[in-house]
Amino acid sequence: MADYRWPEAGKRSLIGKRISRLDGPVKSSGRVKYTYDVDRPNMLYGKMVLSPYAQATIKSIDTSAAEKMPGVKAVQVMREPGAGILWAGQEVVAVAAETEEQARDAARRVVVNYEKLPHLVRDVEPAKAGDRAKPAAEQTEGDPDKAFQEAEVTVEGQYGCPVITHCCLEAHGQATEWEGDNLTVWASTQNVSGIGGEFASGLKIPAGNVRTLTPVMGGGFGSKFGADTWGLACAQLAKKAGRPVKMMLERDHELMVAGARPSIHAKVRVGAQKDGTITAWSSESWGTGGMGTGGSPRLPYVFRIPNQRKRHTAVLTNIGPARAWRAPNHPQLCLITMAALEDLAARLGIDPVEMFLKNIGMTGELSKVYAAELQKAAELIEWQKKWHPRGDKAPGVIKRGLGISLHTWGGGGHPSNCACAIHPDGSVEVSLGSQDLGTGTRTIIAIIAAETLGLPLEAVKVNIGDSHYPQSGGSGGSTTVGGVSASTRRATTNALNELLAKAAPSLGVENDQLEAVGGRIQVKGNPSKGMSWKQACAKLGTTLINATGQTSITTPTGPSARDLISSGVGGVQIAEVAVDIETGVVKLEKLVAVQDCGLIIDLKTAESQVYGGCIMGVCYALYEEKIMDEQTGRCLNPDMEFYKLAGIADIGELVVHMMTGPGYDERGVIGLGEPPVISSGAAISNAVANAIGVRVPTLPLTPDKVLAALEKGGAA
């Protein structure tokens, strides 16, 4: 049995170092081609006709005028007459034309008649939602009634996060090209190995006939796992026209339909002892994820309060479909829980660091990690020096405050197959079908392969983002780094062992006495006895080594597993804000993020993940909201001027501290995509409450909401 374990800390030449992402140069020079940039010979451009109504039935479709428009080569009805419409922006017809402008002109000539039906696009309280309210079964733990009776203090509050969108900078979409019954899809997808099957079943061709290519992609954040209706329509247009078609969503379409993070609102009660021991939780929550009901959100978050009663109601709305948004549900649940707990600390007059530490046992297995992270974060933000009880009493209109939040995420690894080829000329290829969303997947594969084979980074060619490479998972839930790092380590170890077996006889040793270090194959403990990598590979003759490695669902990933990969991380963030109580403007001054993620493969891109998560956190804390108009049923801000993201001046100072080294490395690799985005909203909300003395109940913390909260009664 081969030994796949990660090398000891002292023996790592690349793992854990700061290494620049390998596709950095082709990206920052503008040379790399994204799906949006694909340009095939004779390619047509596709545009779609969207429903203006949030709920309707299609009565008739007339495409005759569109078909006669200049440059039009194909028209595809995506929803037939009689079909229902469930959100504004739902696709009805697609057209393909010689130019984008011609396609847009033709789409405007399609005549669709609808029977308009009543809609709901706001996440109103369940009592006002009629039969669109779908309550889930009540959940209880312990004895909440008794616990609340016995609680010395009870606090109540209402908190919430609105629906937000993914707003990937590269819109959803694809280019498609047929050759006979074989289809090539250039897709902006998080799921290269997976979407081919969807295309195949939708188009009634064998799955093996579809090839998906995604060498790079411009952001997904959970919204790009499927072939999507526009993917199938694009392929149908290409078939009809007999020419390649590219159809990317326009920005308004993207913001209207291509991903909504569900909202959650909750009325919360928390019971506690005067010393800060939390004893009881009750929550009545509701929210919308479009027409789906989802499940019951797992409240309270991180802290397993012993006595709980929870009721959740899904409100079905015509806002467009929910899609997984970086750390699905966690940021919302985190806000509701951490806000309620900090409100409790404020009521009790207890320093929240002290209160969280007092109850840290309720976080379970990760309690020691959280305690260490809380202390580290408090030190980095200078908590002792800067913290004050709720309501900044300093004179002037600028009020400062600090706020804390804790978060968790699973991770583990998705199923992954990796192939490692060692060629007789010494070149090495590592191939798998996963994709790099910009997280650094390509780079960590190269690092692991080079580390394992004792080669420099540039000696390894990484082949990813093509469904012809071995099947490897979609990038969701922070499972990619786990999946591909374990499969790559196994494949490259297996390949190396084959090479060592070829080299061993000429060195007169058993192959297990050999190691690959610094571009050489040498005897362990006797580096002078060996040969160069190239010399060893030359012994392969004409037959290359083609070894494989897998990560499967049986790969152990528990928090106590001592394997290549693991799951279950904790993180703590503390925000410092300055709030202008005359204008209501919240300014993030500083955000400290302390994060554990097991063994770090590339420290540089790992830190970038955390910075990025925090910045996305600032976006949804302060700016983002998909605003729906109940009158028309449409999204009011489907553009990037009014669907606001943070700019470079809005992020304050970010401080990232990775928990690494002994006690963390042994756990193996754990994903980092989701965790750092979870706490930022809650930490910023808590900091604002600490600054102005009153809770702004819902995100984003826009000036109007801050002023409204102050009017209701702040300490400022």
Partner: protein, 234 residues
Amino acid sequence: MPKRPKSPESDHPKVKGGPEESGRKQGGLGRRDFVKLVGGTGVAVTAGVLTKEVLLPAESNAQAAAGRRGIGPGPVNITLRVNGEDKDVAVEPRVTLLDVLRDRLHLTGAKKVCDRGTCGACTVIVSGKAIYSCTMLAIDAADSSADILTIEGLAPEGQLHAVSAAFVDNDAQQCGFCTPGFVMACKAYLDAQPNPTYEQVKAALGGNLCRCGTYVGVRKAVLDAAMRMKGGRS
């Protein structure tokens, strides 16, 4: 939120070829004004074009009346000076510079994201100034004095400009879709402000948006690029 720069007022266009050539210019500029402008300000134009334009006042009234129909809506032949080369394209007047660069000239470094002058992913440098190419019509860029620099023109393929290299080393990119726009905005910023302080850099490039959250790396990259460009490594 930061104030984002708007694209500059349209420069005076020069539209060549076809009956539209003598037409009324964009931005309300009449042909007489245009000729005055060409003659009076010494705008550099090619000799051949200059001759045609100078001949305009001598046209018959009928020709002038026909010219007042304006250009378009059909394709118009224009010449764009992109990365030091003249490129002839036929485009409808409504087509943006961004779409011409991407779809006709295959220069896909500038990205189409918001398509409404908000996000900066389409930033190119026109006559030394960073502009959103999604808010400039191609015909408005068809002025021989308008030197269009796209990211492909920063360095030969396979080589990295100092700004691009600084973005790599400081990990100022993740998915990379906003990156070419940031790189071009950074180049224009440093050309105008070669010695920025960190305080300035914290808010510089406020006209570009990133979704992955690379601003910390971008701030470092801007400072690093400033040093590299001074060191003559660009």
